[in-house]
């Protein structure tokens, strides 16, 4: 039965990874340059989950993060010709490229993973109760 604890733990880790990605997305909502200083607006990161059957022998499955993918949404162009990072030439001359991150989507995602985390903590509590009950047979 203690396998159930491992399974719930895998879910906690996965959901926390997701919450980390969301935090990063929200924190970088206005990041216009990459770490080298080149103009390159931040792209939202998305965590993809995958069923993990390696955790158990009885058919129950855990979960793991299969990949963290970078969104491919077009940047958000705002017309700011006097901005130091304004694009000099081409179709978007005079525009500044901003990250295309929707705050509402990110907040909903954060809320969802928080609730999923809580649900799995609840399952862990139940698992512990079941084990404790089983031990009382000895008493």
């Amino acid at each position: 039965m203690l396998k159930a604890l491992d399974i719930s733990t895998s879910a906690l880790i996965a959901q926390r990874t997701r919450l980390n990605a969301v935090s990063g997305n929200i924190a970088n909502m206005s990041s216009l340059t990459d770490e080298t200083g080149k103009p390159n607006p931040y792209k939202a990161r998305e965590v993809v989950f995958q069923t993990d059957d390696s955790l158990s022998i009885s058919g129950a499955a855990g979960v793991k993060v299969s990949k963290i993918q970078t969104g491919d949404a077009e940047p958000l162009y705002k017309y700011q010709p006097n901005h130091p990072l304004a694009i000099k030439d081409g179709k978007h001359a005079g525009y500044v490229a901003y990250p295309n991150i929707d705050l509402t989507t990110q907040m909903v995602d954060a809320l969802e993973s928080t609730r999923a985390y809580e649900a799995n903590v609840g399952v862990m509590e139940i698992t512990k109760n079941l084990s404790r009950e089983t031990l009382t047979i000895l008493a």
Binding site: T51, S58, G59, G62, S113, T134
Partner: protein, 133 residues
């Protein structure tokens, strides 16, 4: 020991406990995969288990039987199966939080029931051994 424990409900309770524990693992796995795209929930069939257990107990109680032991069916816990044939969410998964939590609670009560009954069985046994009520 077969004489003491074989004829009592303890063996049946033990099967019920094992069933509840395995089912709990599957339900925990379903909740863990709540946000996994394409995941189909897994479960054990409670009714099927109870029918199989009842059948085995009946067989054990039959006076003349040439079967190998009291419990003739060894597949009391039919393997994990896809739990539902129902609405699939847009990400291809079918885990409904409310349903899974309800099943977890029901399963927890089944486990508690078996444990409590088992404890009283052992208390009776102890009373008989020590000749004290």
């Amino acid at each position: 020991m077969q004489g003491i424990f074989g004829g009592t409900p303890i063996q049946a309770l033990e099967h019920t406990l094992t069933f509840a524990q395995r089912r709990h693992e599957l339900l925990a796995g379903n909740l863990a995969n709540m946000d996994t795209p394409g995941y189909r929930s897994r479960d054990l069939d409670t009714n099927e288990f109870q029918n199989a257990l009842a059948e085995s107990i009946d067989n054990a109680n039959r006076p003349v039987s040439h079967s190998s032991g009291p419990y003739t069916r060894d597949d009391l816990y039919s393997g994990p199966r896809a739990a539902t044939e129902q609405v699939v969410f847009h990400d291809g998964s079918d885990v409904s939080l409310e349903q899974q939590v309800t099943e977890l609670a029901k399963n927890q009560h089944l486990h508690g029931l078996a444990i409590t009954t088992m404890r009283s069985q052992f208390a009776l046994l102890r009373a008989a051994i020590t000749e004290r009520a």
